[in-house]
Symmetry: C2
Subunit: 364 residues, 2 copies
Amino acid sequence: MVRDEIPTPALLLDLEAFEANVTTMAGFVAARGKGFRPHGKTHKCPEIARRLVAAGAVGSCTARLSEAEVFAAHGIPGLLVTTAVVGPHKAARAAALSATAPDTIFVADDADAVRALDAAASRQDTPMLVAVDLYFGRTGVPPGEPARDLARVIASCRHLRFAGLQSYDAAASHTHGYAARRARTTGTMAQAVATRQLIEADGLACPMVSAGSTGSYRFDAEIDGITELQPGSFIFMDVDYAKIGGADGRDAYTDFRTALSVVTTVISALGDDAIVDGGFKAFATDRAFGPEPIGEPGLTYTWAGDEHGRLDLRQAARRLKVGDRVAFRVPHCDPTVNLYDELHVLRGDLVEDVWPIAARGKSQ
Amino acid sequence: MVRDEIPTPALLLDLEAFEANVTTMAGFVAARGKGFRPHGKTHKCPEIARRLVAAGAVGSCTARLSEAEVFAAHGIPGLLVTTAVVGPHKAARAAALSATAPDTIFVADDADAVRALDAAASRQDTPMLVAVDLYFGRTGVPPGEPARDLARVIASCRHLRFAGLQSYDAAASHTHGYAARRARTTGTMAQAVATRQLIEADGLACPMVSAGSTGSYRFDAEIDGITELQPGSFIFMDVDYAKIGGADGRDAYTDFRTALSVVTTVISALGDDAIVDGGFKAFATDRAFGPEPIGEPGLTYTWAGDEHGRLDLRQAARRLKVGDRVAFRVPHCDPTVNLYDELHVLRGDLVEDVWPIAARGKSQ
């Protein structure tokens, strides 16, 4: 199959750009002696997780238990479930996962949830991190003494082993501008490192501090006390991350190449508009901006419903007609990937493979 | 399984409300002598399509060819693919579908696409509608002579049979206020009916005019010349449709009950916020408003990323803690359903069944 035969709308991966992105990130992290556990919530694709491990990753993060179950079933090692497991039924599933994939690491920010997981676990030594909240106010306990106190709770549990800290600052990742981003992540990560020191001064080993993102990896990888990085979007890139500002002071963030796109077909053309077969079901809509046409100067996309997008042809370099194809950079990669069952993998215009997004929809 | 054992985030169907909605719509349409072909793009669920047929539907609309393929494989009769089939590969698939499900109706707004489908078809008598554009400017040809001319093209094709018109006015469906909505849909549908008359005056039978939506069904069902209705959202309802204004002049549209919800779990609680495990991957984000908590006075939801939502507890009637469950009305039902693989079907608090959303992600 070649590019123009793929039924649209479809999710495409440019394999050359993907491989370059993986090489760039894996090399950068390895050169600084940090562990590399990229985030699987971005791709939900066991084949990508496998390739990242082949490139040096110690394993894969997953946002959710159900994602980790899929990855474990595909033989991906070193899983880290970055969202707390809550409730008796999920605690039982986490225990079952831990029994089959004993290096799976869990995360907590609530003492009762820790005790519930301990009660459900059947084996000793299940590793667990304390999630530290770094200014973002979403999940995690405050750094310092609250984190130390929760570490003590974990260490006191019969089936759990305190393994360290998770210190993700989602707002740092998207802070606009290189210098501002460095300042923000350096400040927040210093609190994580200080918390690690506080816990170790308390007599508890704190071997791991997992941090980092596609936006902050350059800075986080330079910080003593951060032990591993969990970036996700760098493999694909999207319109959102491309705007955060680069090392050269310009608006464009060019550390990684755009490897992900969605291709659509013009299904109606009347007057100055062309209508493509990609709308709210083809692209995630959580950002303030829409998809960006690739290689189509003067063309702009606006949403036109669940199934449709509208292209304004008035400034377009070519006059689109019914049957023409238009590809787009996606506004936000993670929730866009979550709309598709498979990734069409291209080298040039040749479809080299189709990779199942096996954990798509696994949000539980 | 009972309600509180369902792993979250999960999509729930209140069976009693769903059945009431189906009875209301099917009865209203039947009493006015119209056909009833509800839109499957809303639910993508063969079991729901089957129940609608049992309630009197002549079949099911689908937005896309790939949805129709799934419904046909599940034995759903009377399919109408409401988006034009474009390109040689999809034309071949449409021909294959038509060979196995010969009552499947296609739609077109472009003469070249019509001829491509004719060339691909292997059997005579494939029914095809002309999509008429009624002010919305998305897909469809203008009413009147352009629609008549395309009808002639279809009628001249060896393998196709001109079956009538599709006249969907998406903007009429969501026009706010009962009187304004009636005025808009009555005006646009009059053009569809006039186009039907023009075509028949030209000597071509135009047996079918498919129109209508959850917002406009009351008015469209009263119009002579409209032969069948294709509403979708009435089975579920959402925050969006609940705002369009009712027959009593109030803002709330109460013709149908809320049957669809998403249930989440509080996974973190600190200070005045509770964080639930439902974000951009649990709810469609294409509307300007977010999910609405059900039965939780004073609680408001704001987006907190791909995996999280934030609840402000300051005005809340109960103090939520980690492990508590909160259910929500969804902002927009169709693209939310498209995020889930299955629907947990509840009668009261008992999970009576789990229905696969077999056409989820079938946007091709």
